[in-house]
């Protein structure tokens, strides 16, 4: 009896230690996992379910096509989708082109005072959506804004930026471009810096011009990074909220209503959670589809 106790004590300690060692990763992971489960996985599934629920009446009842049928026939939804699409087409390609040019400039040893330029182009990154939207509303003020002040100086007539449909969309496009070009340039710059210098040296020995180097070496090797920025910008544009909400208040007459401002109105003004969930899933489906297209066409030759 006594002997076995002496032998057992360390062994029991050992198994306990072994068990603790096995449980350690779960211990470290559990805080993340609990919040991830509660606030990410569960909502993703829940909002899918909600999109099939009629939440206009209490009690909520399952009604498969109630929200989705409304979505398909809702002209406001299609208008929001159209506006979002116009912003996407007008903004993303231009911004990525600018970001590539900016990254090339930063990567070049011809550029001096890089610290100054870095601050100028990357400082917008730290500005929140609300502060910068407020400033842009002021700058694009129809009567006394700085934008019109400069236009007048150039001999161009004032534009009623915020209260006419096309200029309002343009204002949003300019604002978003100002805020996100630097961000994309940083990502593209990190891609540029990972291209081995030896490639350029070899090309130069073969007599390639700088122009050829760009089209034959830089651009093809940047493709994965460009794809990444395109996909991110797509998801971002589809979720545009603060800018149309604050700069143009989704006006004039809904000309800058976007998918997310419409979702906000349905979900948190009318508290129609079911319909808002359908809009949310429509956004997710469109984002997935566009990302898929981009990966298909831009990234096809990668694998």
């Amino acid at each position: 009896m006594r002997r076995s106790l002496i032998v057992d004590a360390p062994r029991r300690k050992k198994t306990r230690l072994y068990l603790w060692r096995r449980l350690t990763p779960y211990f470290f992971l559990s805080p993340f996992f609990i919040f991830f489960l509660t606030f990410w996985l569960y909502p993703i599934i829940w909002s899918l379910v909600l999109s099939f629920v009629n939440t206009r009446r209490r009690p909520w009842t399952l009604d498969w096509d109630f929200n989705w049928l409304r979505l398909v026939n809702d002209s406001f939804f299609w208008e929001a989708l159209r506006n979002t699409f116009l912003i996407f087409v007008g903004q993303v390609p231009m911004m990525i082109t600018l970001a590539v040019l900016l990254a090339l400039a930063f990567n070049s040893d011809l550029l001096r005072a890089k610290g100054f330029f870095r601050f100028a182009f990357f400082a917008p990154l730290v500005l929140g959506a609300v502060p910068y939207s407020a400033v842009f509303q002021l700058i694009f003020n129809g009567n006394f804004g700085v934008a019109n002040y400069f236009l007048n100086r150039l001999g161009i007539e004032s534009i009623n930026w915020l209260f006419e449909p096309v200029p309002a969309l343009l204002t949003i496009i300019i604002a978003v471009t100002w805020r996100w070009t630097g961000y994309n340039a940083i990502i593209i710059l990190s891609g540029l810096q990972s291209i081995p210098n030896a490639l350029y040296e070899a090309a130069r020995i073969d007599g390639a011009s700088a122009w050829q180097c760009f089209w034959r070496i830089t651009l093809p090797l940047l493709r994965p990074v460009l794809l990444f920025t395109f996909v991110l910008s797509t998801i971002g544009t589809l979720q545009l909220f603060e800018e149309p909400w604050l700069i143009t208040a989704t006006g004039p007459g809904g000309a800058t209503e976007t998918l997310l401002t419409y979702l906000y109105k349905q979900g948190f003004r009318s508290f129609n959670f079911g319909y808002a969930s359908a809009i949310a899933y429509a956004v997710a489906l469109i984002a997935a589809f566009l990302s898929f297209l981009q990966i298909r066409f831009v990234g096809a030759r990668d694998e």
Partner: protein, 276 residues
């Protein structure tokens, strides 16, 4: 050849300097408007010099709203959130990088996959959960809870934890160090730069966050700075000087920080891009 290089360089600057000035204009305009009265801001003769109404603008700003209270809420939420979310990301990233366990691969894939889910999908259930079921509206926790599991944060921490040498951890285990002790005294100090990068990005994210706080903070006294400013912008009679002062207060610390901590900001920004 050298002359050509000179000409190219000058050409580059001829393009870049006006572009940089244009990019700086909104920030400059924000700072300068914060010091002007409304009739100077909205005037036919624009002045690019600072005004003298800084103090009046502060009074205007705190007249409509308890703005100092918003500053306090914003600082409190952002600091608490950053500490908690960075710690949670580091712990999770450590488990994913340095341990073998059942389901590790799938969990990691799941976390990365959620990075592509638009936030819109989460907003409504999160709102029902936090505001309706947990009844947490107008509290700091309501703002913080949904973001505590940050997929980008854990992803970045995991990538950095991979480079922590396993021999170091084994040696510490043989010496009888506890698992928590190893994490706190060996792992965390090694990944300090990564912690700084994640911390800065999470802080910035929370500080600037608008959509979610707008949903769960209906009460004036609970407003964060973005919610307070967002409400002011929406009013019909607004004091632009006051709003610009508010935006300046909320961004100036970061502009200054950005000057000194560029490296960490940029490391944080390229987090997602590192996987290529």
């Amino acid at each position: 050849m050298k002359r050509q290089k000179w000409i190219n360089s000058i050409l580059l600057h001829v393009i870049m300097i006006p572009a940089a000035v244009l990019f700086l204009l909104p920030i400059f305009w924000m700072l300068i408007s914060a010091t002007k009265a409304d009739n100077q801001i909205l005037s036919a003769t624009l002045s690019f010099l600072p005004g003298t109404s800084l103090a009046d603008n502060w009074l205007e700003l705190s007249d409509d709203l308890p703005f100092l209270r918003s500053v306090f809420n914003s600082v409190g939420i952002a600091v608490l959130y950053t500490i908690l979310a960075t710690l949670i990301s580091a712990m999770g990233g450590y488990a994913l990088a340095k341990f073998q366990f059942v389901g590790r691969k799938y969990l990691f894939a799941l976390i990365v996959a959620t990075l592509t889910v638009p936030y819109a999908v989460l907003a409504i259930p999160q709102f029902i959960l936090v505001a309706r079921e947990l009844r947490m509206s107008n509290t700091w926790w309501a703002v913080m809870l949904p973001g505590l599991a940050n997929a980008l944060g854990i992803f970045f921490m995991r990538q950095n934890m991979l480079s922590v040498p396993s021999e170091l951890l084994e040696a510490a285990r043989i010496d009888g160090a506890s698992e928590v002790g190893i994490f706190a005294r060996i792992v965390l100090p090694v990944v300090k730069p990564a912690l700084a990068a994640v911390g800065i990005i999470l802080f910035l994210f929370q500080w600037n966050s608008f959509f979610w706080p707008l949903l769960v903070l209906p009460d004036k006294n609970a407003y964060t700075i973005p919610v307070a400013l967002g409400t002011l912008v929406g009013l019909t009679r607004v004091s632009w000087g006051g709003i610009m002062l508010g935006t300046a207060i909320s961004t100036l610390p970061f502009l200054v920080m950005f000057l000194f901590l560029q490296r960490y900001f940029i490391a944080g920004i390229t987090v997602g891009a590192t996987k290529g």
